[in-house]
C-alpha cells in the first residue's frame, strides 16, 4: 500500500514519518518510533493500556488511524516528567503503591494526566470516570485512585 507522510508533534518535538493508511497510531508509536512505553492489551479500545493524550484528550491510540494524528499534538508516557524529573502523578503512583505488574501503568498515568491537565481539584467520582476505560487486573484501582487524588493535591500546592 502507498505510504503517506504523517506530520505531528510528539512529546513537544516535530515528527515526520512515513505510514501506511491502515496503520493505527499505537503501532506507529511502538513499531516505527520505538516508543514502547505505550502498551497494547487488546487492540480494540477495550483495555486502555494504549492511552495517550492527543490534543489534550486521553484517547486509545489503538483506535486512532495514524493519519488522524496529522498536525495533532501527541503526548506519550515517554514525554511525561523529564530527565531526572517526574510528573506529580508519576511520583504519587510510586509513593502510594499504585503499581503492580505495570502493564496498565502508562495508560493509567496518561488518563490521569489528561484529567489533571483540566482540573487539579477532581472529585473521586471524576477520577473514577477518567479511569473507567483503563483496566487494571492487579490493584483493584484503590491505590491508583488515591495516587491521582494525591497528585492533584501536589499540583494545587505548586500553583
Amino acid at each position: 500500500m502507498s505510504s503517506k507522510i504523517l506530520k505531528f508533534t510528539l512529546n513537544g518535538e516535530p515528527v515526520e514519518i512515513a505510514v501506511s493508511p491502515e496503520d493505527m497510531l499505537v503501532d506507529v508509536l511502538r513499531d516505527k518510533l520505538e516508543l514502547t512505553g505505550t502498551k497494547k492489551g487488546c487492540g480494540k479500545g477495550e483495555c486502555g493500556a494504549c492511552t495517550i493524550i492527543m490534543d489534550g484528550e486521553a484517547v486509545n491510540s489503538c483506535l486512532v488511524p495514524a493519519m488522524k494524528a496529522m498536525s495533532a499534538s501527541v503526548e506519550t508516557i515517554e514525554g511525561i516528567g523529564g530527565p531526572g524529573k517526574f510528573h506529580p502523578v508519576q511520583e504519587t503512583f510510586m509513593d502510594l503503591g499504585a503499581i503492580q505488574c505495570g502493564f496498565c501503568t502508562p495508560g493509567m498515568i496518561m488518563s490521569s494526566k489528561a484529567l489533571l491537565d483540566k482540573t487539579t481539584s477532581p472529585t473521586s467520582q471524576e477520577i473514577k470516570k477518567a479511569l473507567a476505560g483503563n483496566i487494571c487486573r492487579c490493584t483493584g484501582y484503590v491505590k491508583i485512585e488515591e495516587a491521582v487524588m494525591a497528585a492533584a493535591e501536589k499540583m494545587r500546592e505548586k500553583q
Binding site: 505495570g102 501503568t105 483503563n134
Partner: protein, 759 residues
C-alpha cells in the same frame, strides 16, 4: 527490623512509571518474523482436509506449518515441577498442532510471515474441512455412556480421587441434623493485562532461545525440551518484565510452538503474541466445579461428619487437570474439624478452553461452596454464624493426617474478631429491622485457609545467589519470578535486613535467564516469600558470615563479636569498627587472600504453613434490577509477618477486586449448540473497572510463623478466596434468598427474585 516490615517503594517503580519496563512485545530483534495460528472454528471434531497451498503462495509468507509437520509425540504443559515418578507426572496430552480438534480455537496450523498483516492475510487463504462431533460442554455430556472421547481411551475422565478419614457411619450416627446442598462455580479467565506472547531464535551454537512472558522460566525450559524432543540443556528461556499472570502463565502456552518454528526457519527469530480474543480461549481458564456437600452437626453446633463430592470441568486439554480439585479437597479438610470426613472428585474433559492454574488454585471454588454451606447450617440451627465457624475451626497444633503438615500459627479467630469490629457487625445486626423496600441491606462473611507452596505433594526448591560488590552493595539473583506481585522488592528487603544494609544497596537482577539465574520452580502457590525468601535469607547470612570473618582477619577482632548495621561493621556494643565498603574492597584486592564474598544457596523446604483469613461484606441489593452494591468490604489476613505493608495491601485490593468480579460479574459464555465462545473480549466479559470498585479495607493479624524466614506466610493468592461466599451470604442476609451458583449477576438475581415472589 530495619527493612522487613517497611513499606519500601517497589524496586521497579521508576521503570514502570516511565514506560521503560520492557515486556516481551517491547523488545526489538532484527529480522523478526511474525506467527499467526490457524484455529478451529468448531469445538469437537477432526480435520478431514486441510489446504494451505494458497497461504504458502502468498508473498511474504515464509512457511506454513500444519499438524502433519510437527513431532508426533505428546507433552504436558502444566507448570508443576518435574516428577521422576511417572505416576505423578502431568498428563501429556498436547501436540504442537493437531488435526483432532478439542475446543473452539484449537491449533491446526501456523503461518510464519514477514509481518503480522501478511500472516493474518495468509490465515484467510487456508481451506479446511471437518468431521464434526457434538460439542461436549457439561460434565453430564462428558460422562454419558457412548460419549465421544475427547482423548482416546479416557472415557473423558482425566482423573478421579478420594479420601476418607475417621469412621464415617459412627460419626454420622452422632449427628442431630444432616444438611445437604449443591453449589457450582463458573468458568472465568485470569485476564492478565499483558496477553501471552513469546519469541524464539537459535543462537550460533544451535541452542533454542525463548523469550517469554512466564511465571515459570525453568519449568518452561523443560517443557519446551519435551515438546521439541531435544535435550533440556539446548533450551534457554529468558523472562523479561511480565504484565501479570494470575496462574495462566504458570503454564506453557505459546513457547513450544515458537521454539519449534524457529527451528523450521533456520533459527530466524519468530514471534507470537496472542490477541486478547485468543488469550481468552487459548491460554488457560479457571475450572468450573460442581460441589455436593453433606454435613452432620450436633444441636450445639459441633460438626461431626463432612462429605464433599466434586466434578471439575477441565476443557479440551488437561493442563493442571485434577490437581486443582484435589487442592479444593485438601483445603476443605484443613479449615474445619470433625470426627469423620469424606471427599471424592472427578475431573472431566470437555470441549472448552483448557482450565489450568488461576489465583487460588481450586480454593475460590471450594470456599464458595463450603462457607455458603456453613452459613446455611448456622442459620438453620439458629446459631450465630461467626460462633458456629469459630467453634469448628481447626486450631494451632493441627496436623493434617494425609500430608503430615502441622499448623504452628493460626490467627483466624483474631481475623474474625477484627473483621467483626471493622464492619461494625454487632451494631448493624442489632439495628437491622424487618426490611420491606426495594433496596435491602445485608451482612455476610466467609473464611479460607491456604498453604505456602506445594510441599509435600511437590518439590519445593528455590535458589538465591549474592555477590558483594567492591562498594559493599550486593548483586542479588533469584530464580523466583516477579510478575507484578512485588517479589523483587520483598527479596531486596530481606537481603538488606539480613545483611544490615539499606535496601538501595541491593541490586536485584529481575530478568530471569535459565542460563544464569539459580534454579527455582517459579511464581505460583503463593510460595515465593516463604520458599525463595528462605533462600535469600540463607545466602545473605552466608555473605554476612564471610564479611565478618574477613573483617576479623583485618582487625584481629573475633568475628563472633561483630555485626553489620547501616552498612558498617560494628562491634558487640554497636560501635562502628569499619565501613562495610572497606571490608568488601579488601575482599577483592587483598594481595594475600583476595576472595570476593559470594554465596550460592538452594533452599529445599520440608514445611508448609497455613495462612488464614476472612472477608466481611455489607451489600445493598436492588430487588427491582437484581443489582448488588457492595457498601463495605474488609479482608482480614493472617499471612504471618507482613514484609511490605503497602505491597500486601495492594495484593488484598487486587484479590478482593478479582473476588468481587468472580462473585458478581465474570463468566465465560459458550454457545450451547456449537461451543463457540460468545464473550472472549474485554467488553463482553465483565471485568471490574474503577467505576465498579467499592472501598476495599485490607487488614492484617500478624502471627509469627516459626518455620518462615521472617515470620511470613502466603499472601499472593489468599485475598481472592473469600469475597464471593461473603457477598453471597450478605445477599442471603438481605433478601432471604440463597444463590448457590456463580456469578450472582443481575440477570440471575432478577429471575430468582421474580420466582420467589419478591418482585
Amino acid at each position: 527490623m530495619q527493612s522487613v516490615g517497611k513499606s519500601v517503594r517497589r524496586v521497579d517503580a521508576v521503570a514502570k512509571v516511565r514506560g521503560m519496563a520492557d515486556y516481551v512485545d517491547d523488545i526489538f530483534v532484527k529480522d523478526m518474523l511474525q506467527v499467526k495460528v490457524f484455529r478451529s472454528t468448531i469445538a469437537n471434531g477432526r480435520v478431514k482436509k486441510l489446504d494451505v497451498s494458497r497461504a504458502r503462495a502468498l508473498p511474504g509468507v515464509v512457511v506454513v506449518v500444519t499438524y502433519e509437520d510437527v513431532p508426533k509425540h505428546t507433552f504436558p504443559t502444566a507448570g508443576h515441577p518435574y516428577n521422576k515418578d511417572p505416576k505423578h507426572q502431568d498428563v501429556a496430552d498436547r501436540r504442537l498442532l493437531t488435526d483432532r480438534v478439542r475446543f473452539f480455537g484449537d491449533e491446526i496450523a501456523a503461518v510464519v510471515a514477514v509481518d503480522e498483516l501478511t500472516a493474518v492475510k495468509a490465515l484467510r487463504l487456508i481451506d479446511v474441512e471437518y468431521e464434526q462431533y457434538e460439542p461436549i460442554l457439561t460434565a453430564e455430556a462428558a460422562l454419558i455412556d457412548g460419549a465421544v472421547e475427547i482423548h482416546e481411551g479416557t472415557k473423558n475422565i482425566i482423573a478421579r480421587s478420594e479420601y476418607q478419614l475417621g469412621d464415617w457411619e459412627e460419626a454420622l450416627a452422632q449427628a442431630d441434623e444432616i444438611f445437604e446442598d449443591e453449589f457450582s462455580t463458573s468458568t472465568v479467565q485470569p485476564c492478565a493485562l499483558e496477553n501471552h506472547g513469546a519469541y524464539a531464535y537459535m543462537d550460533a551454537s544451535g541452542r533454542v532461545v525463548v523469550c517469554t512472558s512466564t511465571q515459570i522460566p525453568h519449568i518452561c525450559r523443560r517443557v519446551v525440551g519435551q515438546a521439541l524432543g531435544i535435550p533440556w540443556g539446548r533450551v534457554r528461556v529468558i523472562k523479561p518484565c511480565v504484565g501479570g499472570g494470575f496462574g495462566s502463565k504458570q503454564d506453557v502456552v505459546v513457547e513450544p510452538l515458537v521454539a519449534f518454528l524457529t527451528t523450521v526457519v533456520g533459527g530466524r527469530p519468530v514471534k507470537l503474541v496472542l490477541t486478547r480474543e485468543e488469550t481468552f480461549i487459548a491460554s488457560r481458564v479457571r475450572h468450573a466445579i460442581q460441589f455436593k456437600l453433606k454435613t452432620g452437626v450436633k444441636k450445639d453446633g459441633a460438626i461431626v461428619a463432612r462429605q464433599m463430592t466434586a466434578v471439575s470441568l477441565n476443557g479440551g486439554y488437561a493442563s493442571h487437570g485434577h490437581a486443582i480439585v484435589d487442592n479444593s479437597g485438601e483445603k476443605y479438610r484443613h479449615l474445619y474439624d470433625q470426627l469423620a470426613i469424606k471427599f471424592a472428585a472427578t475431573t472431566v474433559y470437555t470441549n472448552m478452553p483448557a482450565a489450568g492454574a488461576m489465583r487460588g488454585y481450586g480454593i475460590p471454588q471450594v470456599m464458595f461452596a463450603l462457607d455458603c454451606h456453613m452459613e446455611d447450617i448456622a442459620r438453620a440451627l439458629r446459631l450465630d454464624p461467626l460462633d458456629f465457624r469459630l467453634k469448628n475451626l481447626n486450631k494451632t497444633g493441627y496436623t493434617d493426617p494425609i500430608l503430615g503438615i502441622t499448623v504452628r500459627s493460626n490467627g483466624l479467630p483474631e481475623c474474625i474478631a477484627k473483621g467483626r469490629r471493622l464492619i461494625r457487625w454487632d451494631e448493624k445486626k442489632a439495628a437491622r429491622r424487618q426490611q420491606s423496600g426495594p433496596k435491602r441491606r445485608g451482612l455476610g462473611m466467609a473464611c479460607f485457609c491456604y498453604t505456602a507452596g506445594t510441599y509435600p505433594l511437590n518439590l519445593e526448591i528455590a535458589g538465591a545467589r549474592i555477590v558483594m560488590n567492591q562498594d559493599g552493595s550486593v548483586q542479588l539473583q533469584v530464580g523466583a519470578v516477579e510478575m507484578g506481585q512485588g517479589s523483587d522488592t520483598v527479596f531486596s528487603q530481606m537481603a538488606a535486613e539480613t545483611l544490615g544494609i539499606p535496601v538501595d544497596m541491593v541490586h536485584l537482577i529481575s530478568e530471569q535467564d535459565t542460563e544464569i539465574t539459580p534454579f527455582d520452580t517459579g511464581a505460583y502457590a503463593s510460595r515465593q516469600t516463604y520458599i525463595s525468601g528462605m533462600a535469600v535469607k540463607k545466602a545473605a547470612a552466608e555473605i554476612k558470615d564471610k564479611v565478618l570473618r574477613h573483617c576479623g582477619l583485618m582487625t584481629g577482632i573475633s568475628p563472633q563479636s561483630l555485626d553489620i548495621a547501616d552498612a558498617w561493621v560494628v562491634d558487640h556494643k554497636g560501635a562502628r569498627v569499619m565501613p562495610l565498603a572497606e571490608v568488601a574492597l579488601d575482599g577483592y584486592y587483598n594481595l594475600a587472600c583476595a576472595a570476593p564474598f559470594t554465596a550460592d544457596v538452594t533452599n529445599s523446604a520440608t514445611t508448609n504453613p497455613l495462612s488464614y483469613g476472612c472477608t466481611f461484606a455489607e451489600v445493598e441489593v436492588d430487588l427491582a434490577t437484581g443489582k448488588v452494591k457492595v457498601l463495605e468490604i474488609y479482608n482480614v489476613h493472617d499471612s504471618g509477618k507482613i514484609i511490605n505493608p503497602q505491597l500486601a495491601e495492594g495484593q488484598v485490593h487486587g484479590g478482593v477486586s478479582m473476588g468481587l468480579g468472580y462473585a458478581l460479574y465474570e463468566q465465560m459464555i459458550f454457545d450451547p449448540a456449537t461451543g463457540e465462545p460468545l464473550n472472549n473480549n474485554l467488553l463482553d466479559y465483565k471485568l471490574m473497572t474503577a467505576a465498579d470498585t467499592p472501598e476495599i479495607g485490607p487488614a492484617f493479624v500478624e502471627t509469627d510463623e516459626p518455620t518462615a524466614p521472617y515470620g511470613n506466610k502466603s499472601m499472593g493468592e489468599p485475598p481472592v478466596m473469600s469475597p464471593a461466599p461473603a457477598v453471597r451470604n450478605a445477599i442471603l442476609d438481605a433478601t432471604g434468598v440463597k444463590f448457590n451458583q456463580l456469578p450472582m449477576n443481575p440477570h440471575r438475581l432478577f429471575e430468582r427474585f421474580k420466582a420467589e415472589g419478591l418482585i
